[in-house]
Amino acid sequence: MLSSAPTKLISDDGRRADGRRLDQLREIKMEVSTLKNADGSACVAYGKTRVMVAVYGPRELHPKHLALPDRAILRCRYHMAPFSVEVRKSPAPSRREIELSKVIREALEPAVFTELYPRTSIDVFIEVLQADGSTRCASITAASLALADAGVAMRDLVAAVAVGKVEGKLVLDVMDVEDKYGEADLPVAMMPSKKAVTLIQMDGQLTFEEFKEAFNLAVKGCNQIYDFQKEALRRHFAPKIEELEGGMSSG
């Protein structure tokens, strides 16, 4: 299903190829605890970009000599399904996937109280089921939900979003066609309530002024994503808490 280069990515009235305003997120969907086997899991969609994340751990680490005496090891694998992209991707991890696994891990680690789980590993497995831009951001967002679902103690959730420059304009939540034919891509991850930036990458060309503007837009987008995350956790945990309270009140 090959797509051809579009003629125009932003219409005269400031609408993007999918009808969004410049500073508008795509439809965001989040589901927590999707999987049975995993200790925690989440499924997140930014439009057609869909990722599934499972967390196993904290659990005993094999081989043991890799364990750290003072904290958990956070491990992370970002991986794309062969059918997630237009041209089938070989299942062997690409250099891009290896790099993203590293930066995603480093974006999550500041949020995790690894020191509470010495000698263990916390494994974050990310599968991109469909890729339509901003997959690393959706992955970070989903991974922090899955960590929360697994009951791993965290300083804050991590929310991520990418800002792009397309036809000279800054746009929020970059989709594939904008990434491919746009002028710049700036993915940012934050712990919103801590105002701490845990991931920042950039491709393309931006003046310093454009960068600052784009960065501020990304911060705003992360805060919106953060609201969706909290809402998803509330939806998931609220019934249980009610149940618990119900159980207690009836007791």
Partner: protein, 270 residues
């Protein structure tokens, strides 16, 4: 090649249940778990499906690509089935290339599709010896609660049935894509059913806990017309000759039930 350690207390418990016609999750010996099939879940793939068998969840994506045929079948398209046990599906799965279990799964699903001749590979040839359609069937196990073979086979045929293939024309020896999509040349709907042996009992659709203590299993695939088109015995136990026959009879009945969940075959293009 990791050796399985059979939990003997669990085995004893399940054997006793089975002797009384019962199973750990309350099913009868020949009952399947609830089956859910959803197709069209991945828009970027030409075909896709998610199948749930109880808590087991398998996703299959179908991609069509133009490539070279095999040397010994220059007039046929290529069918390539691959399976990945991605580590999010089970605490026992690890990242890395497919192990013997993933390879066996892919090859058993492949044989079920291939031997039923469900895809008319000759219709997938564009320029003989040069260019043919390759159908990539990627099996992605997302949650593992047993019986991956049946779930994967069901997801594979579902994804194929739901798939569309780009319309291609050959003009002056060059391939031109019209931009339209047509129905792929599918002419059968094979279904695989796996029967487990637990002591003296045969059971249908074993869940993960049961698989851990099974003596062995037998998978049989059937064409729409009821022909046996692939079989595979697995696990390090043995069947009696009678059990083999009985297992296939059960599998045949179950395969017909499962096939009812699939959409019907569509009349072919051209």
């Amino acid at each position: 090649m990791a050796e399985r350690v059979i939990p003997s207390v669990k085995r004893k418990q399940l054997l006793e249940l089975a002797a009384r016609g019962k199973r750990i999750d309350g099913r009868g010996l020949l009952d399947m778990r609830p089956v859910q099939i959803e197709t069209g879940v991945i828009e970027k793939a030409e075909g896709s499906a998610v199948v749930r068998l109880g808590s087991t969840m398998v996703m299959v994506g179908v991609k069509y690509e133009i490539g070279k045929p095999f040397e010994d079948t220059p007039n046929e398209g290529v069918l390539s089935v691959n399976a990945e046990f991605v580590p999010l599906a089970s605490p026992t799965f690890e990242p890395g290339p497919p192990d013997e279990n993933a390879i066996e799964l892919a090859r058993v699903v492949d044989r079920g599709l291939r031997e039923s001749k469900c895809l008319d590979l000759e219709k997938m040839c564009l320029i003989p010896g040069e260019k043919v359609w390759i159908a990539w069937i990627d099996i992605y196990v997302l949650d593992h609660d047993g019986n991956l073979i049946d779930a994967s086979a069901l997801a594979a045929i579902s994804a194929l049935l739901a798939s569309k293939i780009p319309e291609a024309k050959v003009e002056n020896g060059e391939i031109v894509l019209t931009g339209n999509y047509v129905v792929p040349p599918i002419r059968d709907r094979p279904v695989a059913v796996t029967i487990g042996k637990l002591g003296d009992q045969l059971i249908v659709d074993p869940c993960f806990e049961e698989e851990e203590v099974l003596d062995c299993r037998l998978t049989a695939s059937f064409t729409e017309g009821g022909l046996l088109c692939a079989m595979q015995k697995g696990l390090p136990g043995a069947f009696t000759a009678d059990e083999v026959i009985k297992a296939i009879e059960i599998a045949k009945v179950k395969s017909e039930e499962l096939r009812k969940l699939l959409p019907p075959l569509v009349t072919q293009h051209g």
